[in-house]
């Protein structure tokens, strides 16, 4: 049984068809990359899976049960959470407090939540900055914080929305390493990313979205050679 | 319920509606551009009413004529409020800006109380009691002038926003704050102009109603809340919507007064308010754009 499965997923905003008849299935332990030109509907897919938008039609199942119509917090408690393309830390809270918010899903007691949050803050490499307010962090650290907050909810599946955009090559390498370590903890990942080398290196499988439809799917090497994919990117002037 | 009473209520409502519409247009303009709910709006109106009163009482200036003075005066006051009080706190939390205007409202309202006590003052002019009949309904001339003048002013404002450069900049700022800054609009200046214009609108409304309305510090509060209702009804930032909303609220209030005992008419207005906020927060006439 697949961990996450969607079929016939469609989202219409007024006259705009953002996602059209999209099928995707992920198994536990997979890392799947979701790529496509700007405006292809990738983030909308994340919104639909995580419960921020209700699909116009189609099914989404997580661990065998339908999550269509569930709110994001309920989906999070089931074991699926996401990060945002534009990071959204709780700016007024400290690093550790940000992560504690997530940790409280698994630990009801504040001391235990702080302990869990502390472990995860160390895990993502923010240990030295655990008591700083989130608003004072660099972009790279904010991206880590966002991942840490998600990890603290102990997800089985994590959706990462451009966790590397805006970072320099060194920082990108660090995030790649972090994603590998997250995967090694048994978390399955669905990743939107524009940094091509990174997503090629990380993904077991790539899915290409274009104008809201699935254009191609397969091993990274195959997809990169797919003529339609190349055209889609070139057509966008990329 | 006789037909005559109903007709009277409709006429009264329409005559009140224009004034509400102008008060609310000013508030809506300020909200549209600054994204602030201006709690001091009613207080500015009250100050304008006192200005009109004193011009009349001390210098014998006709209330309608005094508009020539009050409009620019209160435009200036609005600009000063924006530049001195609001603009420096631009980056503060939304509710902080709301509290700034609340502080101003408390200040102005009680300044009036300190200076002129809570007595009701009235401006009695020769035409204060002039009236004529439409069928069975009494039309008081000062109310007709106020409502008509208010609508004219609101239409004038609308034309200003459509046709002049400053007006276009105001609308650009209301619709696309970042974009407006990018195309080189002096954003701070336009914001000051918005507060100034909004204040001038409410000042004119205040001047127009003094021939038939009492002047007292607490006028501020009742008109303030009414203006909130109208603005929400018309769609925050939608100027023409505010004018239309003014007539709806005016009608609701006068019909409520005709059919309900005591001051329960206000309940009708508040209920409309809450229902619109809940179910159509963008207002009855669509989004915060003046289409």
């Amino acid at each position: 049984m697949s961990l996450l499965e969607m079929s016939g997923l469609t989202k219409r905003f007024g006259g705009l068809l953002a996602v059209s008849n999209f099928d995707l299935s992920l198994d536990a332990g997979e890392i799947v990359g979701l790529i496509g030109p700007n405006g292809a509907g990738k983030t909308t897919v994340f919104h639909l899976i995580a419960g921020f938008h209700a699909p116009t039609s189609g099914k989404i199942r997580f661990k065998g049960g339908s999550i269509v119509g569930s709110k994001p917090h309920a989906i999070c408690r089931l074991g699926l959470t996401r990060t945002f393309q534009i990071v959204q830390p709780f700016a007024g809270l400290s690093v550790i407090e940000n992560v504690m918010v997530g940790a409280f899903n698994r630990e009801r007691d504040a001391v235990a939540a702080r302990r869990l949050a502390g472990e995860i803050v160390d895990f993502v490499g923010l240990g030295p900055r655990r008591d700083l307010p989130a608003r004072s962090l660099t972009l790279s650290d904010r991206k880590r914080l966002e991942i840490a907050r998600g990890l603290a909810t102990r997800p089985e599946m994590l959706l990462l929305d451009e966790a590397m955009s805006g970072l320099n090559p060194t920082e990108i390498d660090e995030i790649i390493g972090l994603i590998r370590r997250i995967h090694a903890r048994g978390v399955s990942l669905l990743i939107i990313e524009h940094v091509m080398q990174a997503i090629m290196a990380l993904s077991h499988r790539l899915v290409v979205l274009h104008h809201g439809e699935k254009l191609a799917e397969g091993a990274p090497g195959e997809v990169a050679r797919d003529r339609r994919v190349i055209e889609a990117y070139l057509g966008e002037g990329a | 319920m006789t037909g005559g009473l109903l007709l009277q209520a409709v006429v009264s409502g329409l005559l009140l509606g224009g004034v509400y519409g102008l008060v609310a247009s000013g508030l809506s303009l300020i909200f549209g551009v600054l994204r602030i709910i201006n709690f001091a709006h009613g207080a500015v109106m009250m100050l304008a009413m006192y200005t009109t009163y004193w011009l009349f009482a001390l210098a014998g200036v006709d209330p309608y004529l005094s508009v020539i003075l009050t409009a620019p005066l209160f435009f200036a006051l609005g600009v000063v409020i924006q530049k001195v009080v609001i603009e420096p706190n631009r980056s503060a939390a939304e509710h902080n800006q709301l509290l700034l205007t609340l502080g101003l409202a408390l200040f102005f309202e009680n300044l009036a109380l300190v200076l002129w006590q809570g007595d009701f003052r009235t401006v009695r002019v020769a035409y204060s009691n002039a009236s004529f009949m439409i069928g069975e309904a009494l039309v008081e001339v000062p109310r007709l002038v106020a409502s008509g003048g208010a609508v004219l002013m609101a239409v004038g404002l609308f034309a200003f926003l459509r046709l002049t450069d400053v007006g276009k900049a105001l609308r650009a700022l209301a619709e696309e704050p970042e974009g407006a800054a990018l195309v080189g609009i002096n954003v701070a200046r336009i914001r000051a102009a918005a507060f100034g214009l909004g204040s001038a609108c409410v000042a004119v409304a205040g001047a127009l109603i003094t021939p038939f309305f009492y002047v007292a510090p607490d006028v501020a509060e009742s008109f303030n809340i009414m203006a909130f209702v109208v603005v929400v009804l018309g769609g925050m930032g939608n100027f023409m919507g505010a004018l239309a909303g003014g007539f709806i609220v005016g009608l609701a209030e006068s019909l409520g007064a005709a059919f309900l005992p005591g001051s329960l008419k206000q309940l009708v207005v508040f209920m409309i308010f809450v229902l619109v906020l809940l179910f159509r927060p963008q207002g009855l006439f669509g989004g915060s754009r003046d289409r």
Binding site: E97, G150 | L113, V114, L277, L278
Partner: protein, 317 residues
């Protein structure tokens, strides 16, 4: 260490000194604690959850009217009446909150809805003979009857509001350190992010609403018993709504001690101006308005925020 000693000293003074105070000073102190208490109650919703209510008078009035009507009509002691009033206010708060939050009202829109609900109750109160209409209700206070929340002299009321404030403060402190406190902060800072971190934003806001309105209503009963008179404008008017939020904002919204500090600054200040400017109706509130503008301009994070900033700066040196 110094802060802790100062705190202990302040608590000792608040407990031990009042019997020695002259009547007027005691009244001012009661007033300080009363507004601090309302500020603490408002702070749970407005500060911690970041939902800026502009209509807490609704809950205050429900509390005042429930206990007073029960006392006058069926002779029920306000000690019980205040709990019933609190429950009714919490129910009303949940209704108001559910409607608002369900339809996604935020920021100024939420403020306006709360204001409208309070105003509606005021209008209903003014127009309903059964609750005394605009004439209000007089609470009998001729005899001392502790079991009926009636005392001779001011001192017992002082200790009651002190205890209420202390309990509300302790509750706030405890919530701030609990899961609920973190959820409240998360919702205040960023609702979408809170949801992805597993926080049920709607339920969290409703909890804050219920707690805040319950506590506010208890303040209403206290007011009714202490002043022995309520009317719709006092109980449901904007005065109480503003009075509840100002100490919290001035002291520091979303901090435990903020409302207390705010009230200790604001209330004596307004008493002082009222005294100095006596005979000039409105002068005190005028000054209040001016101070509000200045405080928001120069202390956007309140007194607590200023202290924190100073400390952070000192720490960096």
């Amino acid at each position: 260490m110094i802060a802790r000693a100062a705190g202990a000293l302040a608590v000792a003074a608040l407990v031990a000194l009042p019997p020695l105070l002259p009547k007027y000073h005691l009244e001012v102190l009661i007033s300080v604690l009363f507004w601090a208490y309302l500020g603490i109650a408002w702070n749970l919703l407005g500060g911690y959850a970041g939902q800026f209510s502009f209509g807490h008078a609704a809950f205050f009035g429900i509390g005042a009217y429930t206990s007073t009507l029960l006392l006058l009509q069926v002779g029920l002691t306000p000690w019980v009446g205040m709990v019933l009033g609190g429950a009714l206010a919490a129910a009303f708060g949940l209704f108001e909150g559910y409607l608002s939050f369900r339809y996604g009202l935020k920021g100024p829109y939420f403020s306006l809805v709360t204001l409208a609900f309070a105003e509606m109750l005021r209008v209903v109160g003014v127009n309903t003979k059964a609750v005394g209409s605009s004439l209000g209700l007089v609470v009998p206070s001729t005899r001392a009857a502790p079991e009926m929340f009636m005392f001779s002299g001011k001192l017992p009321y002082y200790y009651i509001i002190l205890a209420m404030g202390a309990l509300a403060l302790a509750l706030t402190w405890k919530i701030g350190r609990s899961r609920l406190g973190f959820s409240l902060a998360a919702v205040r800072e960023n609702e979408d992010a809170a949801e992805t971190a597993g926080v049920d934003a709607l339920a969290t806001k409703l909890r804050a609403m219920a707690l805040s309105s319950f506590l506010t209503a208890l303040g209403g009963t206290f007011y009714a018993q202490y002043f022995a008179y309520i009317d719709p404008t006092i109980s449901f008017g904007p005065g109480v709504s503003i009075g509840a939020l100002l100490p919290a904002i001035v002291g520091g919204a979303g901090t435990v001690l903020g409302p207390v500090l705010g009230s200790f600054v604001l209330t004596p200040l307004s008493e002082l101006t009222r005294y100095v400017l006596r005979g000039r109706a409105g002068a005190d509130i005028m000054l209040y308005g001016a101070i509000l503008v200045l405080v928001i301009s120069f202390l956007p994070q309140g007194i607590v925020g200023l202290v924190r900033e100073r400390r952070a700066r000192a720490g960096r040196r």
